[in-house]
Amino acid sequence: MSVFIDQSTRLVVQGITGRDGSFHAKQMIDYGTKVVAGVTPGKGGQRFEGAVPVFNTVAEAVHATEANTSVIYVPAAVAASAIFEAADSGIGLIICITEGIPVLDMTRVLPFIHERGARLIGPNCPGLISPDKSKVGIIPGNICKPGKIGVVSRSGTLTYEIVHQLSTNGMGQSTCVGIGGDPLIGTSFIHCLAAFEADPQTAAIVMIGEIGGTDEQQAAEFVKEKVKKPVVGFIAGQTAPPGRRMGHAGAIISGSSGTAADKMAALAKAGISVMKRPADVVPLLKERM
């Protein structure tokens, strides 16, 4: 098993003829992901790489290919619209890689997809990979190995760093999920922790957070109450400058809870082993398993 994606994932790529979309669609096909369709308005009827049918709309793609998952590589200005379209077409799992979506767009997208029962991962995320089964997004397949560690992270390249540490030390992964670094995202740590806890393949969980918001503290509470599997955590931004304040309202909303120190304390208090540096991930997991 694994979480969110596996061999049953039938993927439609929104923006398949674009620069990023075409490059990563090819990478995903090479990895073995079932890419069943692509969407680019105006290019319906074409075939991507001579094989994958391209449609004008997501609804057509779903009707013709029974796609159940979508990945979005379109520019930021139209990305919110692409998420709306995927959810409206009955796609159950939407992964948005696009970076730079205005946060106010997300305030409208999120209630819409919740109403339709869809799950959104991202935006501004590297996607996810269940090694040797399916990869959706941009995580380099060659750094991952199949195994029993579940990885969930707000970051992109920092995730690669930690997954690389795991793989080179013989610790494969069940699924690695990048939930995205934006303030408003579709899938939180808690959703992923719950999925990993329920997944029989996953024996231990690595969560990688960073400064800002209080998602990590809520995740820590959840781990304390609901997660029996060992959890190892990392928080990036211990030396980040305290500036970049969002007026008084930011301080009124979050107080000091957005800092790395506060998050690391919350993790430790919930029984999560906290790494001081990425290289600690393997020794800490060995200690806990």
Partner: protein
């Protein structure tokens, strides 16, 4: 992007929110002329992107136009939190009966714009939030329906008992909600929202922060950017498509991805060093971005070593290597450089570097340790 107070006031006024008159001056003479037009009794306020202006001496009351000129002379050119004051706002000195707080922020937890209201507004609002949270009222607005009239009026009554004033405040809250979506703001706040002795409700100070991701589709808002009010390195970095924040240390860090950049800075500190900056070259980095990054870091005299930490995903190792080699052809690096390069096209990248006489590491810890050692003064 931060807007100046005078820009925020203009936007609020355009949206029908009551804002007293006021104009911007860049010289003491202009300040005097504005004060004369406003009747002499004015407040002169520094326009900088920093909080705590009043406590730093950047806000002064004047009883006459001559005094306004003298205050403007003192405030213009003054440094507040490292930023030089280049403009002052001259506005009538209002008589204030009460001070409240009204603000919107896009809240991560509720994933909605949250309206925050408090009858205890003014400069100590954060202290109020910490010590007397019962004086802070919040409402997460459902963006499908907007701020509904009864919701705004309910909050209006938390500020004022008088129904006219409560209605005036509610009207301001609804218009302020409109401002959030109209300009693409991640924060809009009025602090203080005041009542005057004659009972009118007025905006005394306003702050707006624009979500940077909105700027491309809102050129009229992007045009409000005051480059002279920002740190020059940060302006240069933005022009090159980089995210750069200057810090106080001596290890220059150049990393792809914000999370890895922060983790690299943390590791520099872990091994006893001090990072000189946060610098994220982003995803699909082309060699020119790397050249720009090196130009910015080498222009900081405090930087004693430059550390690259690249884990290629979308970013290709050969692009980064070509950028480093290209930079050395354009300007001297002056300081040692430590390069960690792994991931996509790692082999090609390392080969390019080695042909140019550089060496590259593949382990993050080893590279950070080496960089920190190079930044330390040599033992005698």
């Amino acid at each position: 992007m931060n807007l100046h107070e005078y820009q925020a006031r203009d936007i609020l006024r355009t949206h029908g929110i009551p804002v007293p008159p006021g104009e911007v001056a860049t010289t003491p003479g202009e300040a005097r002329a504005i004060a004369e037009r406003l009747g002499g009794k004015v407040v002169v306020k520094a326009q900088v992107h920093a909080g705590g202006r009043g406590k730093a001496g950047g806000v002064k009351l004047a009883k006459s136009a001559a005094e306004a000129e003298a205050h403007a002379k003192a405030i213009l050119g003054m440094k507040i939190k490292g930023l030089t004051v280049q403009k002052v706002l001259v506005a009538p000195a209002a008589e204030i009966a009460t001070e409240s707080y009204v603000g919107f922020i896009v809240d991560r937890a509720s994933q909605r714009p949250v309206l925050i209201v408090s009858p205890a507004g003014g400069i100590d609002i954060e202290e109020v939030a910490a010590k007397a949270p019962e004086k802070i009222h919040r409402l997460a607005v459902d963006p499908r329906y907007g701020l509904l009239p009864h919701q705004a009026l309910t909050l209006g009554f938390t500020l004022y008992r008088d129904v006219k004033q409560a209605r005036a405040a509610a009207d301001i809250m609804q218009k302020l909600y409109g401002v959030v979506y109209a300009v693409g703001a991640s924060l809009v706040e009025i602090n203080p929202l005041v009542t005057t002795p004659n009972g009118s409700v007025q905006t005394l100070d306003a702050k707006i922060v624009i979500d940077d991701n909105e700027l491309e589709r809102r050129p009229e808002i992007a045009a409000l950017r005051d480059v002279s009010a920002e740190a020059p390195e940060e302006v240069a970095a933005r022009a090159a498509g980089l995210t750069f924040i200057k810090l106080d240390g001596d290890v220059g860090c150049c990393v792809n991805g914000a999370g890895l950049a922060m983790a690299t800075m943390d590791l520099v500190k872990y091994y006893g060093g001090e990072p000189a900056n946060f610098l994220d070259i982003g995803g699909s980095s082309n060699p020119q971005k790397v050249v720009a990054a090196l130009r910015i870091m080498t222009s900081d005299p405090r930087v004693k070593v430059i550390l690259f930490n690249i884990f290629g995903g979308i970013t290709r190792g050969d692009d980064v290597a070509n950028g480093i080699v290209q930079a050395t052809k354009e300007f001297p690096l002056k300081v040692p450089i430590v390069i960690r390069l792994t991931g996509t096209n790692e082999g090609e990248g390392i080969a390019i570097l080695e042909r140019a006489g550089f060496s590259a590491l593949t382990d993050m810890d080893a590279a950070v340790k080496q960089a920190v050692a190079l930044a330390k003064p040599k033992a005698a």
